[in-house]
Symmetry: C2
Subunit: 282 residues, 2 copies
């Protein structure tokens, strides 16, 4: 059984939360109290982690936001990796995948060179492009399935000859290809009815659910529809609406207090729903 | 009209070649004459470029091979970028794409922070995940369409309700979404009959054709089927079979001579086919 999966479920059960904090940290968006520092992004991330660590099950690093600044940006990513508490799952939101010998290199990057617990990957190229990730049986591999953006209609929701939408074919394949419980899928919260349907079709896959907050999905619905029968097996990502609260801040402590309050609010909601469905009990 | 497309077509016409040299440079695979140096990968890439530059239309940097070693690897990538002759197109084989605000960051990474001419992207998430790349009208954007690996059967070749395979739907969308001639597709050479069919369906898209050499596609067929009516609009990538010639080398000059000979052989074949179909004339 995937050790990362066990770690995540242990944390969900211990704190009754599904919160994944998305570190989509953009130097142009960090509050002024950080942008005046010599290393604004690592300082900002440190504050986000400090403010959320009591409520977070996972942290998701969106590699694009670091790669956009090349080596200095990726250096910031490395420094942030060292700040995340060991009991939280660390996800590389990288959406990689290529032919086998190339995917092996990407898997090496995120699972060996950098100490991520999980990675997001894209399914288009099929089995041999994903297998090198699934080969890491102790990790979690989240395959894009049904995403929260409008463009999901272009291909993901197209129906195949047998009537199933493409995303369902992806779900079924991932369920078949995963190894020792290391399979996961990305399913947007903006489609919570479908989220519930897909949960019934794949009761044991781990779900990474983006799209609440700035993208508009309902948090309660996402918790209810996303969890597995044991009240675990899912994390719900919140990025922009949590890490960029409105208002201006006179100090780092001020900023952290605002993020901690929002984080607690999300955690309280999650706790209530989880307890309501009688799940996730420690 | 995309300036990169014009540059590539100018080069194709000038040297009568479609050769794209894939820099899939793995420190564990570079010949001994490089692995004993302090910076084996940049030295190896420098030699590959020196040996192939008379025949190359494009160089393709497979980001995975650099990312696998983290910052030192990406530092090697940066050094290599500075060595590629200006008349050649430089492709980031990155296979990225995400929701819009994230794809904007990836586009910034490859088109602004690093000076690539072109990038490969994955279509699964649809229009808004690709639009931030197409927004760079002077560049070329290669969208995965029909790849050369076995896994292409899992999703790419699945038929939609209207009978078309998914890859055809991707081809048509890319043709509609590209701007000012900056659209391209990745189509594997291992399916040369389909390559010709797709060329007829999309006469103006730029084709990036991997899969000859180590992956087994025929070079002549790929040239014949891949070019547009003007004998341009396509590059054919060769990586492993060109940059890792068999045999051992007593010096860097020895290695470069072997690669130059193989590169010339490929170039001669391409020239012959291009002249045979009366295309690509300067």
């Amino acid at each position: 059984m995937s050790a990362v999966r066990e770690k995540a479920n242990r944390r969900i059960s211990a704190i009754q939360s599904l919160l994944c904090v998305g570190l989509d940290s953009d130097p142009q968006k960090v509050p002024d109290v950080f942008s005046c520092l010599p290393d604004p992004v690592p300082a900002f991330n440190r504050s986000v982690i400090r403010a959320t660590k009591g409520s977070a099950v996972a942290y998701k690093i969106n590699t694009a936001f670091y790669e956009a600044r090349g080596l200095p940006g990726l250096g910031d990513m490395e420094r942030t990796l060292g700040e995340i508490p060991g009991e939280c799952m660390v996800i590389a939101d990288a959406k990689r995948a290529d032919i086998g010998n190339t995917s092996r290199m990407y898997a090496r990057a995120f699972f060996e060179h950098w100490p991520f617990d999980a990675v997001t990957v894209a399914p288009y190229m099929g089995f041999d492009s994903l297998e090198p990730f699934f080969a890491y049986t102790e990790k979690l591999v989240f395959v894009l399935c049904l995403t929260s953006n409008g463009g999901s209609r272009d291909f993901e929701e197209q129906r195949l000859l047998d009537g199933r939408p493409l995303y369902e074919a992806v779900l079924e394949k991932v369920d078949a290809w995963q190894r020792e419980g290391n399979g996961g899928v990305v399913i947007g919260a903006t489609k919570s009815t479908l989220l519930g349907e897909l949960r019934r079709k794949a009761p044991t896959l781990f779900f990474l659910v983006p799209g609440v907050g700035a993208q508009g999905g309902s948090l309660e619905d996402a918790v209810r529809a996303g969890v597995d029968a044991q009240g675990g097996g899912a994390v719900i990502n919140v990025s922009r609406s949590l890490i960029y609260p409105s208002g201006s801040f006179s100090s780092i402590e001020d900023y952290e207090a605002a993020v901690a309050a929002e984080s607690k609010k999300i955690h309280d909601t999650m706790k209530l729903v989880l307890q309501g469905i009688g799940a996730g009990g420690a």
